[in-house]
């Protein structure tokens, strides 16, 4: 087969058989939609997850405020750990689904294939960086707050010692280390989650570069 046969093969292939076309009515119906059925369903799944995590997180925050501000509950550091872990989990789950939704809904269709890939790549990077900075600020502030509490003896945290049976200094150190490492752990998870998308985008840009 010769290279020039490709065009005639393509023409022959589309000469006789034509696919079913949309009528004016079905075109109008389709244009009124936000997305096609399958994509809408997938996006709806993500939106439900976002709402669910956000709702549970808000209830959690409400309960925490109620317990510690209104009822003035005074718990030991040891008892606070499960609460903090639950909050961290809810926060991470909610934001990770929000990021996923943002990535899925971002498009740049009116640009050339190369520009569209580059724009999407930049958007994806910006979303990931913003996500990381938010985690960094939240968890580092949280860690600073615990250290500040320890230094100023708020809530009796200073009673910690190496030999305390309930809360020891190594435990507090571990909690702080955990808090400091959470943003980096999330960054690692996001890198894994978006690895394929990034490599596909990189490959597209590489193939569209004049080299």
């Amino acid at each position: 087969m010769d290279k020039n046969d490709l065009k005639s093969m393509w023409r022959d292939a589309h000469y006789t058989k034509s696919e079913s076309n949309f009528s004016k009515e079905s075109l109008e119906k389709t244009m009124a939609l936000k997305h096609s059925k399958a994509i809408s369903k997938s996006l709806l799944d993500v939106k439900i997850k976002v709402l669910l995590y956000a709702l549970i997180f808000l209830i959690y925050v409400g309960l925490i405020i109620y317990a510690f501000v209104y009822l003035r509950l005074n718990l030991s550091v040891n008892s606070l750990v499960p609460f903090a872990l639950a909050g961290i989990f809810l926060l991470i789950s909610a934001t990770s689904e929000i990021v996923r939704l943002l990535v899925l809904t971002k498009t740049a269709d009116n640009l050339s294939l190369k520009d569209s890939s580059l724009v999407f790549y930049k958007k994806l990077k910006r979303i990931k960086t913003t996500d990381f900075i938010i985690y960094l600020v939240i968890f580092y502030l949280f860690a600073i707050l615990i250290i500040y509490n320890y230094l100023t003896d708020i809530g009796g945290v200073k009673n910690l010692s190496w030999h305390n049976e309930i809360v020891s200094l190594p435990l507090l150190g571990t909690i702080i280390l955990m808090l400091l490492s959470v943003p980096w752990f999330i960054k690692y998870l996001n890198n894994r989650r978006y690895k394929k998308l990034f490599s596909d985008l990189n490959e597209s840009v590489r193939q569209l570069s004049d080299q």
Binding site: L6, K17, K34, S36, F120
Partner: protein, 162 residues
Amino acid sequence: MEKEFIELIKRHQGILHKICNVYFLRDPYKEDYYQEMLIRLWKSYPGFKNQSAFSTWLYRVALNTAIDIIRKQSLLPKHTWLSKTEYNIAEYKSNDESENKDKLYLAINLLSDIEKAIIILYLEDFNYREIAEITGISENYAGVRINRIKTQLIKILNHGQK
């Protein structure tokens, strides 16, 4: 604007079918993606400023949509895809009428998403300037890429590829 868009789309629906066949051949969601292309074309239509032919703009948006859907696949775990390695073109059998069409589509299916876009534009008789405009590569490089892809396609069609 809606009426005008419908008229234009009705005239160019064949293009969308071709793009769907190239990118979503034998995909159970093919019709759905066709619909998604239409929706995204309508959403992007205000951005069409008559600076190029409607078909050029339509190819740009539809190809961007198809590639975007494939890229975001990894974030939508519900969808299942056929593996490219499942095909063996040389051994592929179908009825006489559609054999050439299927063979060609299956061969194109083995190319990368960007190569698919370039070859479909070439097969649809777009010149290098138009291909450069849609893809974002230079005219000279468009020629180079087309030649490479054609060689690759001929090789697949003649010998098959595991």
